[in-house]
Symmetry: C2
Subunit: 196 residues, 2 copies
């Protein structure tokens, strides 16, 4: 399958998932959101589970593409992570956080989904830990355990996601608490430093 | 409806929800888990949504009953909150966190569920904020914003829940990070103080 076909199928999956939810997702509904037939989609993905596995894989790449590059100042990179994980809901894809929440609830029954969420978690924690390590080495941050800061930010981001879906709460509420905790842990005020 | 009938229906709802999930939950399946007929259950609860609303209401009471009483030392009370929110999964109700996760994903479509989750969140944050206020007043904790500490613990608990379901991670991983953050925010080491 070429990259364009894959991107079209995954975009259509995103739209169908936002609109119909996990339980209502069918290959026919994905086809309805694309220019392809359901037979053509089935040709590339045998099952709905395989398709959603590819969709979750794609999420990781999209997350990584939102981050500032590894050569930037660690403070700029950490601000970039906060922007990426505590961003407001995109009004065009209102159902997206709900769909991801449903897929998380399906993880105990679908080993492939669980693996993708573990991959995503590993990537996010790895990115943060590297930044903290670099920032401590460069003297921008106080001495801190990079893995622990990574776990703090990632778990708060998981919490913000659940709160957006269950409580309709804006992720900025969580971001503020994370920023204050980072000040105590790293002796660094988010938003300050790199660009001064 | 007397308290015993209500308790029997809600216990049966818990078991049916753990076993069949939200999508597979029917009043018949709840009846199968109890000594009652589905007609008898329908007599007390018109719809599945009303029943689940009562079930979520009951959760709040069960959470409050797990906490040490308000007269205890604030350090004992805060330890009690950490025990209650970061407790390991009960092996007898393995499906319970998954079922709650599914109900959270349903909150955008069911105003009653959203209200119950907001209630629960308000209770949990209120309990923590009161403890922090008391502990600061008594000189056990450093000066800190009680609402912010409440938000930190509650959001981390939401994150630990999502991670238990999606990643099969033990909540102790999150508790450790919360305890270290509390040391920085409150100048208090969880587990120490009150009983020495």
């Amino acid at each position: 399958m070429d990259g364009e076909t894959r991107a079209e199928i995954l975009d259509a999956t995103n739209r169908a998932l936002c609109e119909h939810g996990y339980a209502g997702l069918t290959v026919q509904r994905i086809a309805d959101e694309s220019s392809m037939t359901s037979a053509a989609i089935h040709y590339h993905f045998d099952t709905k589970e395989e398709l959603l596995n590819a969709f979750l894989d794609d999420l990781i790449e999209r997350f990584e593409s939102k981050l500032p590059c590894g050569a930037a100042d660690p403070r700029t990179r950490l601000d970039g992570v906060l922007d990426a994980v505590f961003s407001p809901k995109d009004p065009d894809s209102d159902g997206f956080p709900v769909a991801i929440m449903e897929l998380k609830a399906q993880a105990p029954y679908h080993e492939l989904f669980r693996e993708r969420f573990l991959d995503f978690d590993g990537v996010m924690r790895g990115v943060v830990a590297d930044i903290v390590r670099d920032g401590v080495a460069a003297g921008h941050f106080d001495e801190a355990d990079p893995e622990e800061i990574a776990r703090l930010i990632t778990t708060m981001s998981n919490g913000a996601h659940a709160r957006a879906v269950a409580l309709d709460e804006h992720p900025a509420e969580t971001r503020r608490v994370v920023e204050d905790a980072l000040e105590l842990h790293l002796g660094w005020t988010p938003g300050e430093g790199a660009d001064e």
